[in-house]
Symmetry: C2
Subunit: 236 residues, 2 copies
Amino acid sequence: MRTHFPSHPQVLAFDVFGTVVDWHSGIAREVQALRPALDGDAFALAWRAGYQPAMRRVMSGELGWTLIDDLHRLILDPLLEQFGLADLTEAEKKHLNKAWHRLDPWPDVVAGLTRLKSRFTICTLSNGNIGLLTDMAKYGGLPWDCILSAEVFRAYKPDPATYLGVARVFDVAPLDVMLVAAHQDDLAAARACGLQTAYIERPAEFGAARPKDITPDPANTRHAQDFLALADQLGC
Amino acid sequence: MRTHFPSHPQVLAFDVFGTVVDWHSGIAREVQALRPALDGDAFALAWRAGYQPAMRRVMSGELGWTLIDDLHRLILDPLLEQFGLADLTEAEKKHLNKAWHRLDPWPDVVAGLTRLKSRFTICTLSNGNIGLLTDMAKYGGLPWDCILSAEVFRAYKPDPATYLGVARVFDVAPLDVMLVAAHQDDLAAARACGLQTAYIERPAEFGAARPKDITPDPANTRHAQDFLALADQLGC
């Protein structure tokens, strides 16, 4: 493990889906509330699996700039057919699409963020749109200082414009920003832009039955089990 | 006075300088801390007076897109000469320029916003940049759900892109957004875009010695003495 750390950052920017909130349980729960017999686990995984390919269609220029709410709906519509939900009303479909606004934070998140906020500026850095992230913060009591999103930078992670955009918004050097995420690829892209990085273990991101590899990567500035452990490491 | 009001909005978007924070006292105090003999009142008024003309230079295309922090510095430099402060170090000038990040809220603001937040989504809609508004919120304990700014929309108020941008971010109709401001021109521009409007009396915005006209305009949806009175009117 590292024995020397760079100076503490000034800003902590958090990935959201999987890092802050448990999308798998939340989506499974919402769809099973509509149809108790449906395989909520499979539905959640299928919806999430459509996310990266949909973003690639935007980044390639095939689709114009699209909010994640609208990408979620593009992915949802064929799934409704596939899972036997095509008879939902339009209002029910809209409500289900906004399930991503109503995801629960992991149990350590609110207490951890509250501690981290006492010493650092804490913001989101998510591909989710601002409205979605704001609703989610109200729903879960997430005490962000500021909501930053792909929507602000008109680029999705891992575009460098997003990581460097956080530093520019707060008028600090990239090394004064730490990306906090449960995904090594997101962290690697941030590191390439000069940010500090903290990996958070979220072994149940894809469901408790499907534990995720949480092997530490020594390239990260920090590796923490959860936000409380990160607050311990950062002295707050 | 009106006897019929439209339905309550879902989102309250707040003008910031003058409406939420007391820029006059804050700027006067900071500059007098540097030079006790200086006329802080005159300095604050002169700095603020440069703001609209500087924004017009951006909106006309004479200047490229510029953050308010940088506009404040453009205005500040000649004032430093004029007020005998040209001998400040660069670090002192930078610190003074960020006085706009350290403005106190009016006394009713934190309690009023906290009540309003219980029922509505509350956000800023300011020409201030995101970093400035975030620092100010941490400094003053302002409990925003979300910080929206000219920086998000790449347009300054009164450009319709800012008022309509709030509705678009939250995926609601313009009438579901209420602009809350202490300036009739800002409110008139919002109304022209279909937003509801609430005027807040801030008679001491330009200093207690220079009371501002706070005559109600019946075109506004609401007229309130302060944020607590607005919370009363909106039933929270």
